[in-house]
Amino acid sequence: MTEEVMSGRGLVKNFGSTTALAGVDFTVHRGETVAIMGPSGSGKSTLLHCLAGIMRPDSGEVNLMGQRIDSLSETQRSRLRRTRFGFLFQFGQLLPELSAEENVALPMLLDGSDKSGALQAARAWFSSLGLSGLERRRPGELSGGQAQRVALARALVTGPIVLFADEPTGALDQASGAETMQTLIKATKGQGSSLVLVTHDANIAAYCDRVVEVRDGKLTSLSAPAVAATAQPGVW
């Protein structure tokens, strides 16, 4: 087993009288891809938000590379999200005013990198993700799949330890979704990052090394064959 990069221990999160997480333990290893599945309202997005430092659990702790992160201040967690994590959402994360390459370079610019260096690093991702020639396009001029790959480049450009993806193919058609998942897995593993992916779709989960399910705030591990029995990557 490779090194453990991230863990959540005994995570509890309540929203009023509703319990979203009821004592969840979760680990991710270096280079591992993990899918979190579950029906709507099961708490899978809450788990992702707690792991990524977006929200604090009511109890339990979250560690990254052996350091506790859930007790950090909002500013420190923001910085952590910007520098150590990458994020990929269903859609809408690209700024419409910026060109595709500027969108990819934005995290580095925000962290004080100089513009030409940031753009150069951004452009390198375009060829590796099959986006050559689209650098100057605006998000509105890209297809859904292309926009998701640009967003993936933006998520990976800072070399994150963990990439969090929340229903990344939810807004795409079948072919684009499959293509995006293949690119996502390949690019994430290619640079040694780990992936935590939230989905309600078994076909998407099947792309990952490991699948866990959140149900009523509790986590259960699904064996890979159980997933494979109902779905195959790319066959929806």
Binding site: I54, Q90, L95, L110, E141
Partner: protein, 645 residues
Amino acid sequence: MTKLAWMLLRGGGKRGLLSSALTFVAVAVTTALIMFTIAGNFAFNERGERSAWRNPVEAVDTATAIQATKTDFVADQTIVTVYLAATGDGTPPIPPGMSAFPKPGEVWLSAPLHNLAEDLPADQLAERYGAISGVLGDEAAIHSTELVAVIGVTPDSPALAGPPVNGYAATGISDFDGQGASDTYRQYQAYMLIATVLMVVPLLVFGGAAARLTVARRDQRLAALRLIGATPGQVVRLTVAEAMLTAVAGAVVGTAGYALAIPLLRHIEIDGATWYLSDLWPAWWAVAATIAVIPLLVGISAVIGLRRVVISPLGVARRHTPPGLRAVRLLVLVALIVAFLVMSQRFIGMGAAGLTLMVTMLGATLWAINLVGPWVVGLIGKITAGLARRGSTLLAGRRLADDPRSVWRAIAGIALTGFVAGFIGVLLPDQVESPAADVVVSIQMPDDEVEAVSGYVSEAMTDAEISIMDWDDSTVLEFTTAADTAELDRFRSGLAAVSEGSVAITDIDFNRFTDQLLYDIRTGVLVVMAVSILIAMVSTAVAGASSILDRRQTYSLMHLAGTPMKVLNAARRKETLIPLVILGGGAIAVGVTLALPFAAGQGFQGGAFGLLLTASLGLLGILGASAATRPLLASVMRDTTPRPD
């Protein structure tokens, strides 16, 4: 349909309500400011009408009275003195503010003049009039502080002889209807019209843009309505009804807001006086028309904003690189400025034609600034983005380049007024003037009064060197003396006793009209600037809030990915500040440049301090308005479960 629109309006959720609220606020502010500009015109007309009776219509064969108006002075203030004599042919009309036509020797004073006559030593004012017969009603005076005297004389009084230096010569009259506003108020009315154009154009542009806010939020919902089978007509009617419901509420509240502001607004002094409350409330039909027309314009604007959805039920807002604006716009502006500078020296010597030409070319330059504005905003955006070293600057630059027209709309009022303010600011003299040591006094009188008057002057001003000039049908006596107001007032009182109707006017008095007019123009420019700043502030806040709502999902996701809010706030601040400083400052500079040839030619300088102060306050106000939307951004960014809607 209205019922459904009302349901949609109420059921729009928190964000739907917020965008409707933005439209509501924008329409309310627009209405209040439009009411103000309309009321300004009515107010000057009211004063003009009250001045009309002193500008008589000649009744050749049916004259029952003779009227002459002259300008007298006391304590560095102007007194309008109206001399009236009954001809004896029929019953003379009753003057405004009086109960009967004055008999010879009767003197009626306006309340402020009456008070002044009681306050000042008698030899400085009261002795000019003798016994006071009555106090004039408000309708005799243009405004609440005007000094007016109505004096009854006999038809052969010297007060009715010869043309007066200031005022109106003796005229046979049969009523006091008059010829309309005095010359001075005609000028004020003309300036008010120009100010109206300067304020109303940006207001309408802003109001129209605000109307589309309602539509923008509803694009997708309306597309959904089309998908389930609503006809384009139904969608249009629904949106128009919804936008107009909001706009009617905004227009009514804006009108009420204006009404509440009148007690404050009446303190804007023009012609040296505050306004009557009733002056600043427009005629009922103008109020009704404004409340009716503004929602109508909002409805039309909403229809224009809806075109895309109506054409295609699948119409989804997609953003592309906008087409560039052509640089030829800049050439037009440069050509006009050069032409103006070349022609400027000639305008001065061309009289009325020169003035018309100058105003026309100024108008054309304003129009060119409006053409160039969006182009310059786009250019500034490109340069800013190109030079950006920080993410926030890059974002600001790209946004400016992306939608220069909407940025220009927000600051157009400031830029256009900045141009006028720059022009006027240089030309207007400072109010603080060192008082002259000596004044030149002129007295115009009928020829047969010369002996009495010159005798009095020799006796009262023993050291003065008197020169006598013979005019066509009168004589002018002139001498130089110390600029001592009390002494001059005593001299005037003595003169009135020696020669009825003779008035001593100093060279400072001659300039009093022009100085007052220039001072009022500056007040007007500051008011227009203040209105423009207010438009820009509301426009910036509304556009800022609208832009946050448009991008709420992106902002929220950026926050999740660790983007600090201060970066987005810095981008929004730069997005406002950069074009405002460059274009607002640039417009003021263009105005100053065009005014400099006149300033040099006439020796006018100064007046720029108030302008700079107003511009600086405006800048702070607009930045404050931009910052006011921070809580909205914070609430959007705090939303950890963004969902497309």
